[in-house]
Symmetry: C2
DNA sequence: GCATCATTTCTCCAATTCCCGAAGTATCGT
DNA sequence: ACGATACTTCGGGAATTGGAGAAATGATGC
């Protein structure tokens, strides 16, 4: 595990983005596939995929293919920079992360097949309530940018 | 000390740049003024100043004005994110950081007045040796970009 | 083989970053 | 008051990033 300024800067830079940080915080509780993460963060599939690719290139996550799905997880603790857990742990206090964890508990209980059959719609599955988190309205996207 | 995804992402992003990481690694051993850091990293003054301003905006360093000089230092440990020291500590093994520390030991021994009177020229002061680290040749800059 | 579905890669555009030199600010010494 | 000096802010140009949709890839099931 070589520690150098350029390598460390690259890892920190990748981590220094709200979406990627949120992805990692979600993965801290265990592996998830791209479609679950996409639904959780309400992103375009290609956007989620690209962020995950960056995290992988920085050596922060690994992928595991299984059938049609690709599961991502944090790199195992030995290969993990020591500061990563220190960064992620306090994020539990962020309300966004807390809500993500709550939804993930429900989400993990649903088999992937069923989840995808339901169009990966958290609303339809009763994971998010009245607010229609419908398929990413243009309006919703525009504000977050 | 509010911990949130946006705030943490902002701090990590600022840290995720080789120059700023090197600046922080230098400051880990104690406060330094802009002109010392500029000479150490061989940057344009305005570039160093802007990087330091970003670090300050992210709450990672504080400034102290004294006469003509502005001294920067790491924020005090209480206000410091817990992961910051974990990030900086292993960097001691980076050869660049090791060399910076060596030069800093010599540099700190020189009063600021004298240092500036010598045009902040590390070569002239015998801190860097034969390599003429003259005032930032265009050639030298071009490669590092 | 062929359609389907999850994911990745490509193409494009807007926005941001990075770095410098120039211009501006503030402080010191005279 | 004046010039010199340490630093900051501004202006601008090259490079990178972020994100979406479209097209490509790869595995599954019929």
């Amino acid at each position: 595990m070589p520690v150098s300024i350029p390598a460390t800067a690259a890892q920190l830079k990748v981590l220094g983005h709200p979406v990627r940080l949120r992805l990692l915080a979600a993965l801290a509780a265990g592996e998830l596939c791209v479609c679950q993460l996409t639904a959780l963060l309400d992103l375009a599939t290609s956007t989620a995929s690209e962020h995950l690719a960056e995290l992988r290139a920085a050596g922060l996550v690994t992928e595991r293919k299984e059938g049609r799905w690709v599961h991502y997880r944090l790199v195992d603790p030995a290969a993990r920079p020591k500061w990563l857990d220190e960064v992620l742990a306090p994020l539990a206090r962020d309300p966004q992360v807390a809500e993500d964890r709550r939804r993930l508990r429900a989400l993990r209980a649903i088999p992937l097949e069923e989840f995808c059959r339901a169009d990966r719609d958290l609303g339809r599955l009763g994971i998010v309530k009245p607010a229609r988190r419908t398929p990413r309205s243009a309006a919703a996207r525009r504000v977050t940018r």
